[in-house]
């Protein structure tokens, strides 16, 4: 009986959080963002303020999930994120909460978002308003946008898997992040995110909740410096090598914890 009640509580709770992520995102973008836009003339400062609002809201969001005991959260190596500004932050992408988690931890984060999200009726306004970068931009414009973000001392979050991945499946990374890091000379902060048991997977409905409360773990790990790669190889080879290095890192972390 108690189990049954607990499950109902978690299903309703998950639904609630799912709804406020999308609905709340749309509301913030329609109400808070115009206020920021009206009171901040400078476009870059406007983005920075909106990004900071998103950071605070996501912090609150994760805090509330924790308080309502819908999930557990574990963080490792967070102190390394203090040095994240000016770096490329790479993470694997097992769940819907990944970007919420990362942005809740980083006050000033720029993010490359996929086109579907950019055009989403719920969150599209939010990601466009905050000045995030669409991955559908032509490569030169994409690079220019990334360079600008770094110059403004934001950190740049990229999920090189491109979309939520299936736990256990081999890691497939797109090469864009490696090109960005090499062409802009950015150090890469690797972050590993796990969620056990898996939940909010791609293609899963929000009410298909796992049998027990999920534990999300954000592990801020190694920093990869790319400068030496370019000494040894031309850019195309260096990029491929970098992708292999990062894929091997994630395979190891995900296999061995």
């Amino acid at each position: 009986m108690l189990d049954w009640l607990a499950r109902i509580y978690r299903t309703l709770g998950t639904g609630f959080f799912f709804a406020i992520l999308f609905g709340g995102g749309a509301v913030i973008a329609t109400i808070a963002f115009p206020i920021v836009s009206l009171t901040t003339r400078n476009t870059e400062r406007r983005w920075a303020r909106k990004q900071y609002i998103i950071h605070l809201l996501f912090r609150f969001y994760i805090g509330l999930m924790r308080f309502m005991r819908l999930a557990f959260f574990e963080f490792r190596g967070l102190e390394k994120l203090r040095d994240a500004p000016g770096k490329l932050v790479i993470a694997n992408h097992p769940s819907l909460l990944d970007v919420v988690l990362l942005m809740s931890l980083i006050p000033r984060a720029q993010c490359i978002v996929k086109q579907e999200l950019w055009e989403s009726p719920y969150l599209g306004r939010l990601v466009r308003g905050a000045g995030y970068i669409s991955n559908a931009l032509p490569s030169e414009q994409l690079l220019a946008a990334c360079r600008q973000a770094i110059e403004l001392d934001a950190c740049l979050i990229v999920f090189p898997e491109g979309t939520r991945s299936t736990p256990g499946a081999p890691i497939q990374l797109q090469r864009g992040f490696a090109n960005i890091a090499l062409l802009l000379g950015l150090d890469i902060q690797l972050v590993t995110i796990t969620c056990t048991p898996p939940t909010l997977l791609k293609g899963q409905k929000w009410y298909e909740i796992p049998a027990r409360r999920p534990v999300f773990c954000v592990d801020v790990g190694q920093v990869i410096s790319v400068a030496h790669l370019l000494n040894d190889h031309a850019r195309p080879l260096a990029a491929r090598k970098l992708v292999r290095t990062v894929a091997a890192y994630y395979e190891d972390r995900l296999a061995n914890g």
């Binding site: 032509p138 490569s139 864009g176 090109n179 031309a234 850019r235 195309p236 080879l237 990029a239 491929r240």
Partner: protein, 83 residues
């Protein structure tokens, strides 16, 4: 430079610089889908071709080039136009 030489040279670039397995580089191979090149790679390849032919190309010239043969055709045509 003959078309054959051009094809040979482009093949060797693809193999050496872009780590494409030699057996995959056929004249009909599609650059993005089959050979796993990306748009940044394309720029690098164009730079290489400029060095090779001492001509100036713009990425626009290669916009519609999808396969290895397309690239050879474009470069060949532009060299003939110059000659």
């Amino acid at each position: 430079m003959s078309r054959d030489e051009l094809l040979h040279q482009i093949k060797s670039y693809l193999i050496e610089i872009f780590e494409v397995p030699a057996e995959k580089v056929t004249p009909d191979a599609r650059l993005y889908e089959d050979l796993d090149l990306d748009s940044i790679d394309a720029v690098d390849l164009i730079v290489k071709l400029q060095d090779l032919t001492s001509q100036k190309f713009s990425p626009e010239d290669f916009k519609s080039a999808l396969t290895v043969t397309d690239v050879v055709d474009r470069v060949d045509a532009m060299m003939k136009a110059q000659a």
